[in-house]
Amino acid sequence: MSERSEQTAVRGDGRHAAVPTQRSRPRRAPLSENKKSERRLGWLLCAPAALVMLAVTAYPIIYSVWLSLQRFDLRFPDERAFVGLENYVTVLSNEFWWTAFGVTALITVVTVAVELALGMGLALIMHRTLVGRGIVRTAALIPYGIVTVVAAFSWRYAWTPGTGYLANLFSDGAPLTERASSLAIIMLAEIWKTTPFMALLLMAGLALVPEDLLKAASTDGATSWQRFTKVMLPVMKPAILVALLFRTLDAFRVFDNIFVLTAGGNETSSVSMLAYNNLIRGLNLGIGSTMSVLIFIAVAIIAFVFVKLFGTAAPGSSDDERR
């Protein structure tokens, strides 16, 4: 059963790549009544999904902009008032915000870079290994599937003095009570958890590399490094960009690992952690919403830069071309 599903997936890939225009628009002479009912059905089928997605994201984010313009502390509900951009001034002139922003940026850049390198290696192993392909793929899926909080507890106890097997690896101190080592452990936990996902996205790109091309390059005397950089990488470029975009935005949201590992202590808070603390611990809805809006803007800028830099290779556009 499962074998068959993989076969069809592979066959489907081939078909997509070889005959991209097979499903070109007019399937038969357009009967206007037919066309109309097709449209209606299309809208009807998409409406529930679209409504849920918009109701739970678009409306709250607009509401959040409105909240961010108010002084609104749930402990002092009577003092609620419209204050314009005051909250933004407060947050953007606050050193905690910028520390958290720096931590988030550092974690994002380092983890994504390491994951790209490790993920490429893992993708090559999963794709090309001659022995135990099933075992290695199964093992790699475990970090992907495991609950982040569970993995975070495992890492926390591993580095806890006395309890953990890693605690005395570098020094006799407690690694999770110092800033640099805490950040390193947070990044380690993130990398462990998300490298397999990166690898799977890259493996999808690897599957598109034509075997003949590799053989031809090899016959022409290309070394394996040359085959990797000159043949594989160019074909894989779209997959790499998609993987980078998704992982970058995902890394920017880092929360679970920090919550469990350090709870944001020793200046290891990410922006998500800070927004959470302002809302749940501080019950300050105005400031919390301001941070929400700022994080949204930051993520939008990252996504925009990616799409602008890589143009047609962005997921949305390449998707349309293929159809």
Partner: protein, 278 residues
């Protein structure tokens, strides 16, 4: 590299495989090991327990705190998965099969949602759910779960749907079936493997959620296991909760391990087809 199957190459690959397997499994084995340790040996720093016990598991299953959270986790993830897969299948069918204005917009919107910073919704959803009475309820968590699972469901399913032999549908329609009947009777059975794979991916996603679960709940009414874990304090305040936390962590890891063991091929093909080829 591609064709040589010398013993040397096999050995090299085997070694690389071993590194990956060890790296992937160590944290899981470690927390499992901790969960089987007795309180006396919990802090001995040994990777393998010297004395084995099931006491930690007995403890957590005797507490309401954990059992309620487990019921919440399972119920919320199952309902959210079911709804997300049904809504996602409808939309994916339309995307894969029908021609209508606004299709690109829907694909674009799902892509945006997939990239959306969830923490940006935490403050407004907290306030909205308090006002409409959804705060600290199952639906209050199910709704955001569905929302963020939908892009995954739509992408994976439309990739699967594009591989289905659609001529069968045409044949059914020629025999007098309506588009709706053709979908239910002919296409749905063919699409079942894709639906199943998507359901696994969506379930894993919902099961994993921590941010929404910790901000949109306040009591045991809707608190899920990942959140309950972070609030475990032990039976009395002098008792170290480490063993209990590890046992609970292992319990919620078991379904994931089973999925991965039995459906590895499906999960891999679902993730790779949905993610890039959408």
């Amino acid at each position: 590299m591609a064709t040589e199957t010398t013993t040397r190459a096999r050995l090299r690959w085997g070694l690389l495989d071993a590194v990956v397997v060890v790296f992937a499994l160590i944290p899981v084995l470690w927390i499992a090991s901790l969960s089987f340790k007795t309180p006396a040996t919990l802090t001995d720093g040994k990777f393998i327990p010297r004395e084995w016990t099931l006491e930690n598991y007995r403890t957590i299953f005797a507490t309401d705190q954990f059992v309620r959270a487990l019921v919440n986790s399972i119920g919320i993830a199952l309902i959210a998965t079911l709804i997300a897969v049904v809504l996602g299948a409808m939309a994916a069918y339309a995307i894969a099969r029908l021609d209508f204005p606004g299709k690109k917009l829907l694909v674009g919107v799902s892509l945006l949602i997939a990239m959306f910073p969830q923490v940006s919704l935490v403050s407004p959803l907290f306030e909205i759910e308090r006002q409409v009475g959804l705060f600290d309820t199952w639906p209050g968590l199910i709704l955001p779960h569905i929302t963020f699972a939908l892009p995954l469901a739509i992408y994976t399913l439309s990739a699967f749907f594009k591989q289905i032999p659609w001529d069968l549908e045409k044949a059914a329609k020629m025999d007098g079936a309506t588009q709706g009947q053709a979908f239910r009777r002919v296409i749905a059975p063919l699409a079942a493997p894709g639906l199943f794979t998507t359901a696994i991916l969506v379930f894993i996603f919902c099961w994993n959620d921590f941010l929404f679960a910790i901000t949109l709940t306040s009591t045991e009414r809707a608190r899920t296991v990942p959140v309950a874990l972070s609030f475990f304090t032990g039976a009395s305040q002098f008792e170290d909760p480490t063993g209990a936390i590890c046992a609970a962590a292992v319990v919620i890891t078991v379904p994931i391990i089973l999925f991965v063991l039995f459906f590895q091929r499906r999960i891999v093909s679902g993730l790779t087809s949905g993610a890039v080829k959408g």
